[in-house]
Subunit: 439 residues, 2 copies
């Protein structure tokens, strides 16, 4: 832990700094823009206001900062041992979010979401979770503000990852395997396919349906503007920490699934570049098995598989695309945050895709040099960081984010170390078929 | 993370501050004191010197401090939410060691042990591990100093906890299920009991046997003076952090297995008390299923089950006592560090025993209030902390250590939350039988 500073007082909203605002979400039927009233049954007024805010800096409530202080500021690590192993003139900095209670960056948004809902008198939050990272974060956040928390966890993960479920229950949440008989949608799915392994799309449908009572809202862990906003605390802290060290990044690298970790790390640095205070290159790294930036289409599509959400203008592989079962479960999303997609179209950052074995190789090297076992998701950013550092012929500063530790992902490392892991290329015809289903 | 400071430059050796030194280890045959020459085949000269040092403060080598900086100083957390939940006037501070790469306090000693061995030209370290915490720490430390690491892991754990094994392999260690055919002792054990589940005693015997080559040494994760010495960085940091806050502890509470975490936390505060600068009460908390302080005998006994080690004067339940399979695997040791045993006999601290369900109840309350999921071992200290805080009728300052996170122990929480966990009382006749085998 090389440097720590105080916690920032504001989140950063990049939208006012852009030449043009991102295209709005649309109602599927009429293709008219979605308004605040459409969102009110699911989200509290404060989050809806943040979703469309024109302010550059939004204050972090003191009640949220008090919870952030349990693990924030997170450390910025100078990876000197990794630099030596690579024999690189580059200086590598890693912003480490794995020190949070659940071991990832997800509580950065779960905490304010729980807070704003509690302040508006909401009693219960529902959500879906795949591997359980987001569900754990929301369960923790709800325990901080006295909210009930009900989570639909994809059946396959519910059966295979009982310890993530235990963690949610430890924080007091109720966890259902999805599809579940508790919702009309789930009961119907079970009737059609007894023993269904479920999907994130189904789990979203159940969580949204279960949010119908007046005292209940729904919470989402990525994709939406307010989620990206809350995650900017990562980049704001990193900017402060680098500045204190007298460093200016030449390159900022992050992994992208739905996009919240990447946006959180990079938006403050994009601001600095847009305002001509520094000129870092920004690089997004996605899995080759789920390459929404590099091979997807920029189009209006549904955020979920079942087609229940508004239409979002984003880079998408098609809403019914099912990524291969790579170990970086947090990056297996068919779409991309609309705000990030908009920035990408404007050429504000670049994107590359990496196969998973190269990523795990980077994760092993990082663990053996710097000690920390990275979660499979940020190994994508590490792989690109290592590639760039190896290429460097003169000193440069690279910043990346380690958005979680891998202590709950040792099975994946086991497969890699035993030589059983395979890469998953995405055949052109499979991609074309998924894209042909765009609405 | 409420306060952090710089990393201390010295470890603290309590021995010179004691009215009398602890009784020496003895050779089993002659019952004469063990000398440095007896230890030289297993340990480097610097560690043997630390084992018997008469200096109060031993400098931490810069190479070790450089690795410590990967996670040190560790946070000192004011547990305000826990205080509120308990409605206590007490102020509770928690020194959190779970931010280390392997998630526990064990690297505090693994790193200097690897360093001193490497500096002496040793190429390979051997050790045993039960649940895998110590093995992970030594594997990490060896990766930092370019040492080979070979670990004998109790067969039952090897089969049941594959992810701890994966973590050791991730750091580059070789892991063998014990008993193994790789040693004479292991081959004999396997011949006698094919499919033996192993024991820590057997694993120690194999690791010691495998340390026979000249370029190979053995490493131990608790019990010995030099191990306790290295862990005092915990208490030194906590003392600095509390002082910076203007706080003086009235009570310092730690859990005890072999004793290294407890000694590391409390020795600096015992020094302050011995030198009349503060008057904290010091409390050790052990599992009711393995109560060496509260129900063991203070006698010379073997450190291992097979009787291969020197005789150690310590609180012991008998070297062939096998504790019930409680989830706090790190506290399942029949003996206690001789130095701690000596201090206990002199009345320098008190000890109590706790059944495991009360401990897990404390762990759940801590997770729901403070967010961090504690490992099963420190829930013992938390249970006592909570009991003392509930009893408090006026402001007092309680300090405890959370020596590891529980992300790899969710199966235990699962059993607790599902109501399947039981307590393990230790019947008087079983204890008497084990004590009757003292040498």
């Amino acid at each position: 832990m090389e440097t720590t500073t105080s916690t920032p007082t504001h989140w950063y909203n990049i939208v006012p700094d852009l030449p043009a605002p991102p295209p709005p979400p649309l109602r599927p039927g009429t293709r008219e823009p979605v308004g605040p009233d459409d969102l009110a049954p699911l989200f509290p007024a404060e989050l809806i206001a943040q979703e469309v805010s024109a302010e550059s800096f939004l204050p972090i409530p003191e009640e949220v900062r008090e919870v952030y202080r349990l693990w924030r500021p997170t450390p910025l690590i100078r990876a000197r041992r990794l630099e030596r192993a690579l024999d690189t003139p580059a200086r590598i900095y890693v912003k480490y979010e794995g020190v949070s209670p659940v071991g990832s960056h997800k509580p950065n948004t779960a905490v304010p979401q729980a807070f704003y809902n509690a302040r508006q008198g909401i009693r219960r939050l529902t959500t879906e979770t795949g591997a359980g990272q987001w569900g754990s974060a929301l369960a923790f956040a709800c325990s901080q503000f006295g909210l009930d928390c009900e989570i639909w966890m994809v059946r396959a993960s519910y059966d295979q990852k009982p310890y993530r479920r235990s963690m949610m229950e430890l924080y007091g949440a109720r966890v259902h395997a999805s599809p579940s008989p508790r919702t009309t949608f789930g009961a119907k799915a079970l009737a059609e396919t007894p023993g269904s392994p479920g999907s994130l799309g189904m789990a979203i449908s159940e969580a949204v349906e279960a949010a119908a009572p007046e005292d209940t809202h729904y919470a989402l862990g990525s994709v939406l503007n307010h989620v990206l906003l809350h995650q900017t605390i990562i980049g704001e802290e990193a900017l402060e920490q680098l500045t204190a060290l007298g460093e200016t990044p030449d390159l900022v690298v992050g992994c992208t699934g739905g996009g919240s970790n990447f946006a959180g790390l990079t938006f403050p640095f994009l601001r600095e570049r847009l305002q001509d205070r520094m000129r870092p290159r920004i690089l997004a790294v996605e899995p080759a098995a789920c390459p929404s930036f590099t091979r997807g289409r920029y189009a209006y599509d549904f955020g979920d598989t079942a087609g229940l959400t508004p239409l979002l203008k984003m880079h998408t592989l098609g809403h019914d695309f099912v990524p291969d079962p790579i170990h970086a479960g947090g990056l297996r999303y068919h779409g991309m945050a609309p705000l990030l997609s908009h920035l990408y179209e404007q050429g504000l950052f670049q994107a590359i895709a990496k196969p998973q074995r190269e990523c795990f190789e980077a994760g092993v090297l990082f663990a053996r040099t710097e000690g920390i076992v990275p979660a499979p998701e940020p190994t994508h950013a590490l792989a690109a960081t290592i590639e760039e550092a190896r290429r460097a012929t003169e000193p440069k500063v690279i910043l990346t984010a380690l958005c979680g530790h891998g202590h709950l992902d040792m099975a994946a490392y086991d497969r890699y170390l035993s030589g059983e892991m395979t890469d998953h290329a995405l055949p052109e015809d499979r991609l074309a078929a998924a894209l042909s289903h765009l609405p």
